[in-house]
């Protein structure tokens, strides 16, 4: 196929040498994203740039909004208009978005937010790496909800998890965050995009009843309500207020309990489907590293180097950050003498790991506060000190 024609396909099948940012954008397009609303911010801007080029070719729409607040509301609106929608940002922009990510949780609106992390707080290190938004993606917005957050560690996985993010968003009806970091967003490596027929696409459930009988927030047995969008003849009610099955505000403890319990439980009861980890050399491990994102690459390097020296170390790589794989970690705690958690922050996942192990083993965070990823030697040194 000629290059010219290939540009206008949703799925850019073939071998590429490209960045994590472009791979994530291509993943979104491959799974059918047709709306991007955003405000450019380093180190995520290449995603917006790429979507601005590609979406019009595919009959989609790209809007550069006045800020991140409008961007997130824009993609919620696009989703209610019936298209798969997304935005991309970094820490400062995500901070502005959190209020309306909460709106997306309450209104059960499928969409995807890519956050390419840089060093913070505040404007911090615009061009340099961080992993400091872990807790923000969980606790950023007020109220109780269970977010889904995915964290790739290669250019290939940026593509694959962008697809997964949309699929979870559509399946469970919520905003899903794909958490990259600057290192991953900007590094180039091989990306293999499969044939279009190999891309697994999940679409939101549609109502089966008539518009007259339909209740927009009445869940099926799986706790997820089918979603009718504007223009299909069904009533579309969207409010951030506590609402009943009709979607009408109903401000009392009973409705609140039923609704909030359900939007949390639809995720909690499906943790098995959502939680993904990679286990590497854990079978006989006496020590373990728990890591995620670009740092998980160097953590694997540290495992390989330690193994050459006869130290039995393994790696548990978190692909899904939220919901947190606490049960797997608790089981690991019964096996190993110590768990190391290298991360580019001052102890975010480390704290969650400590909560998960229930004191059954020692947990040691290896922190870098932003600007560079760990090199394998830095992690190895810590383990060698204990082995």
């Amino acid at each position: 196929m000629s290059k010219q024609k290939q540009k206008f396909l949703e799925v850019s099948t073939g071998e590429h040498f490209t960045t994590g940012n472009h791979a994530a954008a291509e993943g979104a397009l491959a799974v059918g994203c047709k709306f991007f609303g955003g405000y450019p911010i380093t180190p995520s801007s290449e995603i917006a740039e790429h979507m601005a080029l590609r979406l019009p070719q595919l009959g989609g729409n790209f809007v550069q909004f006045e800020d991140e607040i409008a961007s997130i509301i824009g993609i919620l609106g696009a989703s209610w208009g019936g298209v798969k929608s997304m935005t991309a940002t970094s820490g400062p922009g995500y901070s502005l978005m959190v209020e309306n990510i909460g709106l997306g949780m309450m209104t059960e609106t499928p969409c995807v937010i890519i956050n390419v992390q840089r060093g913070g707080p505040s404007t911090g290190l615009p061009t340099l790496v961080g992993q400091q938004d872990i807790m923000q993606t969980k606790w950023g917005a007020h109220g109780d909800f269970e977010p889904i957050v995915l964290c790739p560690n290669s250019v290939q996985e940026c593509f694959e998890l962008a697809i997964e993010a949309f699929n979870y968003a559509e399946k469970y009806r919520l905003p899903v965050t794909l958490l990259l970091d600057e290192t991953l967003g900007h590094m180039s490596e091989r990306l293999i995009i499969p044939d279009a027929s190999k891309i697994g696409k999940v679409e939101r459930k549609k109502p089966k009843d008539s518009p007259e009988e339909h209740l927009p927030y009445k869940p099926d047995d799986d706790l997820i309500p089918p979603m009718a969008v504007a223009g299909e003849g069904y009533r579309v009610m969207v409010t951030g207020l506590t609402h009943d099955e009709r979607g009408y505000p109903d401000l009392n403890t009973k409705t609140q309990d039923k609704l909030v319990r359900r939007i949390n439980d639809k995720i909690r009861l499906n943790k098995k489907d959502i939680i993904k980890v990679e286990e590497y050399m854990l079978d006989d491990a006496e020590f373990a590293i728990i890591s995620f994102g670009s740092v998980a690459r160097t953590a694997k390097g540290a495992v390989n180097r330690a193994r050459k020296k006869g130290i039995k170390v393994g790696l548990l790589r978190l692909i899904t950050i939220w919901p947190f794989p606490n049960e797997r970690i608790e089981a690991l705690a019964e096996q190993v003498k110590k768990i190391y958690v290298p991360e580019i922050n001052y102890g975010q996942i480390t704290r969650e790991v400590e909560r998960s192990v229930h004191g059954k083993t020692e947990v040691k965070g290896i922190f870098k506060l932003g600007g560079a990823i760990h090199n394998p030697q830095e992690i190895l040194k810590e383990i060698e000190g204990d082995a």
């Binding site: 040498f17 290192t183 180039s188 690459r297 694997k300 990823i373």
Partner: protein
């Protein structure tokens, strides 16, 4: 083959990023059984001033994507030389644009130093913009574990804008054929 680290560096506008991209792409897509990762300097420094691009090549997975101890340092400006020469490993190999870089004590740790007037060669083709590709040709002719001539020519034809391809291929050839007096 074990891990090989290469840094290309110069000043903004010399096409340093393109050098890394071409090499990374040639290796990743065309060299059987090899992986590569390319990273670029991305701060305010990439807008003017020293610019650098790293390519890491390995047969296995590339765990750490950044270069730390350079096996090869390919440098096209004095500022970049001063800034990055400490990263060249003991016994590493240095490629320099001889008219733009003044070597000092630090260069002694290099096992071998290859010098080329890449900019002058490019100017004979009508523009100094081809200096980066002339340098790539010179690197290709004098190394065996980075990329092959065949892979690079294929990638150049694919990735460089059609109207510049011919001159760049000549620049590459001139770099390949260049023999230093020293």
């Amino acid at each position: 083959m074990s891990r090989v680290e290469i840094r290309f560096a110069g000043f903004g506008g010399q096409g340093i990023g393109l050098m890394g991209r071409l090499v990374g792409e040639a290796v990743s897509l065309l060299e059987e059984g090899k992986n590569s990762v390319m990273t670029q300097s991305y701060g305010p420094e990439s807008r003017g001033g020293a610019s650098s691009t790293d390519v890491v090549i390995d047969e296995g997975e590339i765990d750490y994507p950044k270069a730390t101890e350079l096996d090869y340092f390919v440098v096209l400006s004095e500022e970049a030389y001063q800034k990055y020469i400490p990263k060249l490993k003991e016994g590493g190999i240095l490629f320099v644009e001889e008219d733009l870089v003044t070597l000092d004590e630090n260069a002694k740790k290099a096992k071998k130093i290859f010098k080329i007037p890449a900019t002058k060669i490019a100017e004979t083709l009508g523009s100094r913009l081809y200096a980066n590709i002339a340098m790539l040709g010179y690197v290709c002719a004098n190394t065996t574990d980075i990329f092959s001539e065949e892979a690079m020519l294929t990638i150049m034809k694919e990735k460089i804008k059609a109207r510049f391809v011919e001159k760049n291929l000549i620049a590459f050839q001139k770099g390949m054929e260049y023999k230093s007096d020293s």
